[in-house]
Symmetry: C2
Subunit: 277 residues, 2 copies
């Protein structure tokens, strides 16, 4: 059975109310894609990652396609509820059915089911916000989160994507997942906060260190004044396929790190075991 196409690199989704990010109007959707119209349909959906509401002309411009094409794609997507039209101004936004299918993918995530009880225990025993994240290209995606305090507002909603090099989870995973590490190397190291990793040399050095100590820490690498601590979760082949992490304000977290590391390590091991490692 030959290898299927790998997902291409995607830009982390940024909310308007979060840090904004340069868009990539002309994507390199040449590699590993075979159905052009389906590809443009997905490109159209991707447009809404950057802006909540877009018009036909907006999208056509952004994707470099004819207005009629964009319109055809949007009505097709709309007929299935993947996008919906604002009756006031005629613009389009992401639809409910996308949410429906997304929740289905979420509810069926086996990793998440294995991790949830352990995460609850960690949340209780540490008092910090606990995250579960998985690698996707050069980024990590947060799959589950148990919130304490109101660090939820800072992190944004779950399902959010962050570059691997500015999260402890990303470092924990990349340290034991060459594909994730390489993907980030290729994607570069754009800074996000005062202490974000900025070079490939730093990246590989940090990964070495993570391998040595077994966990990853980040202070103000993604959000100013926030600290997180992550431990990788392994599959059968000893590759990191996820990370469990705790997150909180630096001044609250720093004194507790020594206490939390063994708890988190034990938690990650339990999850790995549940997955058959």
């Amino acid at each position: 059975m030959a290898m299927a196409a790998q997902p291409e690199h995607r830009q982390p989704i940024e909310e308007p109310w979060c840090v904004t990010t340069p868009k990539r109007p002309t994507d390199d959707h040449a590699a590993g894609e075979w159905l052009k119209s389906v590809g443009t349909a997905l490109d159209v959906l991707e447009c809404f990652a950057a802006d909540t509401e877009l018009g036909v002309s907006d999208i056509a411009r952004r994707l470099g396609i004819a207005k009629s094409t964009a319109h055809r794609v949007l009505t097709t997507l709309g007929s299935r509820g993947m996008v919906e039209q604002n009756p006031d101004n005629g613009q389009y936004r992401l639809g409910i059915h996308l949410y429906e299918l997304g929740q289905l993918a979420h509810a069926r995530n086996g990793l998440r089911h294995a991790a949830l009880p352990v995460m609850r225990e960690v949340c209780r025993s540490t008092g910090f916000t606990v995250n579960l994240s998985v690698p996707d290209g050069p980024d990590v995606v947060f799959v589950e989160r148990l919130v304490t305090q109101d660090s939820g507002r800072l992190l944004g909603h779950t399902g959010r994507r962050l570059p691997a090099h500015c999260t402890s989870s990303g470092k924990a995973i990349a340290a034991h997942n060459p594909k994730a590490a390489d993907a980030r190397l290729k994607a570069g190291f754009p800074p996000r906060a005062s202490h974000t990793i900025r070079s490939a040399a730093d990246w590989t050095a940090i990964l070495d260190h993570v391998r040595k100590v077994g966990h990853a820490v980040s202070h103000s690498e993604s959000f100013e004044g926030a600290t997180s601590l992550a431990v990788p979760v392994f599959d059968r082949s000893h590759t990191a396929i996820a990370a469990i992490s705790v997150f909180g304000p630096t001044d609250l977290m720093r004194p507790d790190i020594e206490r939390v590391v063994p708890l988190l390590t034990a938690a990650a091991r339990r999850i790995s075991k549940a997955l058959g490692a």
Copy 2:
């Protein structure tokens, strides 16, 4: 500006561990669709509503398309992370990026933002599970839920779709939303539990009653031994665009209904006002 195509009727998504539902392999995706390949791509995604994991041949059979076509669609969807392949058996399942986009749609839902603080208040003052749902064709989709006790397991995950005629939310909405009421009339009244509405006559009679008293109740219409109570949320044009509801075991809920009705009614009014009604 002419009317865009309306979403066609979709079958409620049923989990394997919930009540199963007859599938519709040959869908009537003739009406209101223009891009065939995009249409089949969405059909492919829809296949995963019924089953968590499917192979290329499965999908080809189910959709009545060539295996090569199904494969092409799946690899295209896979290259964008909308589906992913189980490396063990080569089968496909829904992908993370679907979850990502779905969460984005969720996070941007204005209705939800308006409703959340009110829902929290209702949850606190009643002690029951609180739901927010919106109409979609002949069904309602649960958009947000604040869980008390463990009624969460019974209801399944948010984002789930239930036929309008067997939920209090559906009745509350349909009573003040002709389009939703008609869509359910056309779709019929399949029974789900002992007290599910079974005829068009009952349906219209119930809707009349709901209009009179201002709220809708259901006992064992969708889940045996469960009761829910719903009040519609209106938009500017006095059309119901959502419902807020409380849910719980019948023996716990029944004695409290009189107490909860005014609380829920006030909550719905607050949400409607926030939306500019």
